[in-house]
């Protein structure tokens, strides 16, 4: 229990640190939205000055940070100058879109990686295993960008898949089933790109962890007791090899919001990635901070989740962690 408490405290502390750093970096970068506005002769300097005060850009940094922190605690993430709307709703919509993509991709990737990795490890060194190793190595070497672009080209050439966006035109008029189908069609290529990007690494990790365990005496003993093959591989070997995989899973959860930026931008998926990109370029301070903070929360939560899972899955951790 103490272990979990410690990890949670650690996570909260981390979040504070991240928010502070993000705020500082964004606030300290040269230029802000208003520089653009100043160039526009139609807007009077007084209006700009008024906006300045309204958004408290003339106050010292610590004060701004404190105010912002207070606001965040109330669920208010500030205001976006570029979109001229509160940040929070903007983020939620985009985050939802991103999660749609990444959760599907992560689930698929893990559901494929586990059996593939276990199967490969059980045939370690033989032809099927070599084929898997070779394929995963090749996929790893190909940059995500190339994968995404490649799929895009496929879409353009064949016309089987839409080349971008979340839904087709006229989506609102579709029947629920048609809506679902349309969404799925749009999701296919981005999800495929994400899966192809993450699957190889997962497979290799699963394979390596399981292969190491397959040599262990307790597995040989279980074999000697007549434990059936499938149970041996999944109930015993995979279970014993779970620790590094749980950490990896935590990482997967952690990168649910941040890992798909590239794919979203290339495939025009209206997720958090493109939003962040635009906001950074436009110096839209609060959107950037909000977006980064959200990603960080996921990352920290993912790791915490992994810690909890690890604690639950491995009884040896209960006794390994002792108070000072």
């Amino acid at each position: 229990m103490r272990y979990l408490l410690r990890r949670t405290l650690h996570a909260v502390f981390l979040l504070f640190g991240v928010s502070l750093l993000t705020f500082l970096f964004s606030a300290l970068t040269p230029g802000n939205y208003f520089d653009e506005m100043r160039l526009n002769p139609q807007i009077s300097p007084e209006s700009i000055a008024a906006l300045h005060t309204q958004y408290q850009l003339d106050r010292p940094l610590p004060v701004r940070y404190a105010h912002w922190l207070n606001a965040v605690a109330h669920g208010e993430l500030g205001f976006s100058f570029a979109y001229n709307s509160p940040v929070a709703p903007l983020l939620w919509v985009r985050a939802r879109n991103t999660l749609l993509l990444t959760v599907t991709a992560a689930l698929l990737a893990w559901l494929l990686a586990l059996p593939l990795g276990v199967w490969s490890a059980s045939r370690f060194g033989r032809v099927p295993d070599r084929v898997v190793s070779w394929t995963t190595a090749t996929l790893l070497v190909i940059p995500d960008l190339v994968l995404a672009l490649g799929l895009l080209i496929l879409a353009v050439r064949t016309g089987w898949f839409p080349t971008g966006g979340l839904v087709s035109v006229g989506y609102e008029e579709f029947s629920p089933l048609h809506k679902l189908g349309d969404l799925a069609l749009h999701m296919t290529l981005p999800v495929l790109a994400l899966v192809l990007a993450t699957l190889p690494m997962l497979v290799r990790h699963v394979r390596a962890s399981v292969a190491e365990v397959l040599d262990a005496p307790f597995l040989r003993a279980a074999l000697g007791h007549g434990i059936p093959h499938r149970k041996l591989l999944y109930g015993y070997a995979l279970r014993a090899a779970a620790n590094p995989l749980i950490s990896l899973f935590g990482f997967s959860v952690g990168t649910l919001l941040s890992g798909s930026l590239l794919v979203e931008v290339v495939m025009s998926w209206p997720g958090l990635g493109p939003l962040l990109l635009e906001s950074i370029l436009a110096r839209d301070l609060y959107v950037v901070i909000g977006g980064v903070l959200l990603s960080m929360i996921f990352l920290v939560a993912g790791n915490l989740f992994a810690d909890v899972l690890l604690y639950w899955a491995d009884p040896r951790i209960h006794t390994a962690v002792s108070p000072k």
């Binding site: 307790f218 279980a222 000697g224 007791h225 007549g226 059936p228």
Partner: protein, 338 residues
């Protein structure tokens, strides 16, 4: 044939018949190491056979061969192992799985690493039961508790919920024993079951074996390098040297009037405790000179010859075959050439 069962049980078919077993390992360098080179013996139902051998004698290979658990570089060159008439070496993968744990129980070496690190003890014992029997939940739990109670006179409930790292070496060994006898096999192979234990724990485990033998009528193959452990436990003893049987016979005979020079030399090596006078203590223990043979070189002649105090000319060139010295007592040595 080698190592016949005692006459009282000769009417019954032997439980296990090992005939001319040859097993070898191939190293990465291409060298072939002959771990077992022609082993013959029988085992009667309910009999405890002690296999006495030091490192390199092939004793662990023997255990692994019965259950076909040899590593990938191990190969059974020839021979047969008949369990109640069926050849284990020709069993299909399906049958093999049923035999392992179902008809032959294994107590593996290294209690510290032969249990799954993150599964509860009760679960690990139940898994062996479900591997061979279809039981509903209640019967499964009942049987598991019974099994654990038979090896843990007290505390069985607590142990069932514990994990391996929470148990002592002796306790882990008991769990391994429970797993081995779970499905009522007719034969249990114990590979150095007391190797890493304290002397008092060792005695407790040996006592447990005796009790189980009485209650369950198990046949057992008890593999060890320490002859003293077999006294009072084994019915017969088989002495293994360099992959061959040096001597096999009733325990009392082998321990107290060993016929093979190796057995005799080995028994003389044991520290003579309780020596009352100072001159007997700190006297150099008698030793077997030299090193065990390199099993990748198949030398002509008797494998023990280079270290034997009673070697003869013929020992260099020919390999002795089993000669009957006494009723049921056979020795492979030219001293008893027959």
């Amino acid at each position: 044939m080698g190592g016949k069962c005692p006459p009282l049980v000769q009417e019954m078919t032997p439980l296990l018949e090992v005939k001319n077993l040859h097993v070898s390992y191939s190293a990465r360098t291409g060298e072939v190491c002959h771990a077992l080179a022609g082993v013959n013996f029988d085992l009667a139902p309910g009999e405890i056979l002690g296999v006495l051998g030091e490192s390199g004698s092939g004793k662990s290979t023997l255990a692994a061969t019965f259950l076909r658990l040899l590593p990938s570089n191990g190969k059974i060159q020839k021979g047969s192992v008949l369990l109640e008439g069926e050849n284990l070496l020709e069993a299909s993968a399906q049958d093999l799985r049923k035999i392992r744990g179902g008809r032959i129980g294994l107590i593996p070496q290294e209690p510290s690493s032969s249990l799954h690190p993150t599964l509860q003890i009760g679960q690990q014992v139940s898994d062996v039961l479900t591997a061979h029997e279809t039981l509903d939940r209640r019967s499964l739990n009942h049987k598991t508790s019974q099994l654990l109670a038979s090896v843990f006179p007290k505390d069985a409930q607590r142990i069932s919920r514990s994990y391996p790292h929470e148990l002592s070496g002796g306790q882990r060994q008991r769990v391994l024993i429970a797993q081995a006898i779970a499905c009522g096999p007719s034969l249990v192979v114990a590979d150095e079951p007391t190797a890493s234990l304290d002397p008092t724990t060792q005695q407790e485990i040996l006592h447990l074996f005796r009790t189980l033998r009485q209650k369950l009528g198990l046949a057992m193959i008890f593999i060890t390098h320490n002859p003293a452990l077999l006294a009072g436990l084994a019915d017969r003893i088989l002495v293994l040297y360099a992959g061959r049987i040096a001597e096999i016979g009733p325990a009392a005979r082998v321990l107290y009037s060993p016929q093979h020079p190796y057995t005799a030399a080995l028994l003389r090596c044991l520290p003579s405790h309780f020596a009352e006078s100072r001159s007997a203590r700190k006297a150099k223990p008698s030793v077997i000179p030299g090193e065990p043979p390199d099993l990748s070189l198949r030398e002509n002649g008797c494998q023990f010859e280079p270290r034997c105090a009673e070697r003869m000319e013929v020992c260099k060139s020919d390999e002795p075959s089993a000669a009957v010295v006494n009723e049921l007592h056979e020795v492979s040595c030219f001293k008893f050439a027959g």
